[in-house]
């Protein structure tokens, strides 16, 4: 089930990587995936499947968690990047939005956003413009720009984290659970932003997302992870049509959407892997 999208150039190529935490905990057991230039690729899977770990392997943040890529390699624009430092990657245009917000609590919202532009050498004016752009995406942030990020609400922090990454003017964003904690309206807006960045500025996305519904609506391609392995991949449309995906990730049974009240207690779940 490899990619059929030969017509597009691979921007990011993850080749059969294995990740071990703390020298003993094997988390990724050989993962290969590709992100083509200008694509939005969704990484789906249950809690603990290894989505975040995959993203961190790319952005090289694993080292700081005592994790290690022990096998395989990762290429960006056909150049190995697994030995690069995170900031070298950011300079190359690859940036990650971390799961769980990770704002700088003592910095104000605006300072948080500005740190995002650290690697850029553009003048103040350009940065100012980008800042305004982020504010226009998230007007709520403009209201709160003077407060320390640590005191803002969960959603505000999420917006700050995303806005901060945008300030780096990246060409590829690794988005970890962008919709988490955001109001439904905003979820749509975020994905609209993703779409517009993708279409207007050619930014590619690799996004880990639990909100499969939305993710598949905006993504071009998707991979489903389970237990550190890829169990299925395909174009977004293919995946949306798959009956298993429908049932387990979209919450749609043949009878249409079912109520959360009707969930069964000890029901057997389908797993691709034994």
């Amino acid at each position: 089930m490899t990619s059929f999208r030969l017509e597009k150039k691979n921007l990011l190529d993850i080749n059969n990587i294995e990740v071990i935490y703390d020298h003993v905990i094997l988390v990724l057991k050989g993962i290969s995936l590709q992100v083509a230039e200008g694509d939005i690729v969704a990484l789906l899977g249950a809690n603990g499947a290894g989505k975040t770990t995959t993203l961190k392997a790319v952005s090289n943040l694993l080292q700081s968690e005592r994790g290690d890529v022990t096998k395989g390699f990762i290429e960006y624009r056909n150049v190995r990047i697994d030995k690069l430092t995170p900031w070298a990657l950011v300079k190359k245009g690859v940036i990650q939005v971390m799961e769980g917000r990770h704002c700088f609590p003592h910095l104000t919202v605006e300072e948080n956003l500005l740190t995002g532009a650290y690697t850029r050498s553009s003048g103040r004016k350009v940065i100012r413009q980008d800042l305004e752009k982020v504010y226009s995406y998230f007007p709520r942030l403009k209201d709160r720009k003077g407060s320390q990020a640590g005191y803002t609400s969960g959603g505000e922090q999420q917006m700050t984290a995303i806005g901060r990454a945008l300030m780096a003017n990246p060409s590829m964003i690794l988005l970890d659970e962008p919709s988490m904690g955001l109001a439904p309206q905003l979820v749509d807006e975020i994905f609209e932003i993703v779409k517009s960045l993708n279409q207007n500025e050619g930014v590619s996305f690799l996004l880990a997302e639990q909100n499969t519904n939305v993710a598949l609506r905006y993504a071009d391609y998707g991979y489903i992870l389970e237990n550190g392995r890829i169990v299925m991949d395909g174009s977004a449309a293919e995946l949306s049509d798959n009956s298993d995906v429908k049932e387990f990730y979209l919450g749609l049974s043949t009878a249409g959407r079912k109520s959360y009240r009707d969930g069964k207690h000890y029901r057997r779940r389908k797993r691709w892997l034994a």
Partner: protein, 308 residues
Amino acid sequence: MEFFLEVLIGGLLAGVMYSLVALGFVLIYKASGVFNFAQGAMVFFAALTFVGAQEKLGLSLWAALAFSLLLMILLGVLTEKIVLRPLVNQPPISLFMVTIGLTFFVEGLAQLMWGTKVYPLELGIPDEPVATTIESLGLSATNLPTVLQEINSFDLIAAIVAGVLVAGLAIFFQITKIGRALRAVADDHQAALSIGIPLKSIWAIVWSVAGFVALVAGLMWGARNGVQFALTFVALKALPVLILGGFDSVMGAIVGGLIIGALEKLAEVYIGPFFGGGIEIWFAYVAALLFLLIRPEGLFGDKQIDRV
């Protein structure tokens, strides 16, 4: 009254000397959220290198200065490379501990390189009342108030140096984006990495600057007491300053130093006799502690944020 003023001014000036040392702590804390235990050892290392280079290598004062500065920068860069880099994103206590290991190492290294002797350190700054200095310049000091005439030239110059240093650092952090980045790093190493703040160079820079500050402090203190192992103890004088002013504030280091210096001296002179003296050793700490009960983050420190 005059005596009071003299004690007060003496205290303020002593406080400035504490600030010099405290500044080094502040820098590292700002850049990593870590209390750098090795700062005292760095002061010792810097001063010993400076005199050692003069005595053993026969360098001139300026050459020795350049040499020791170079060595401090090297030390900073190596510390980043060997010690800090593998410990990104580790709990502050681990980083704190590693600075303790560094302390032993630096102390050992300094003594290995330059021996364990005591050296005098001459900077050529007159150590005499201002009046005398002014007169030796051929000017008249008679219209200065006596209290001012009595101030020691050396202390005054130390104060000026500290002032310049503080102003310089404050401006540096204010106008360069490094200042903001530092605070970001101190808040969350990993997030800082994720948005491309180059921890490597930031830490190397900050440790080098801290090394420079240590050199300045080492020179000043060394000129006072001679260069010897006991220089590492000056760190103890800086700690109350640090908590009073706030761990992460350059301003705090100077203001805290002034307050602590003055309080300490006044207390020793006016309260000490009731306790048989020697209260200086704990007074600064107790005073700082009491203040912290009111403001747990010190005068200018960033408030700890806990929100659920």
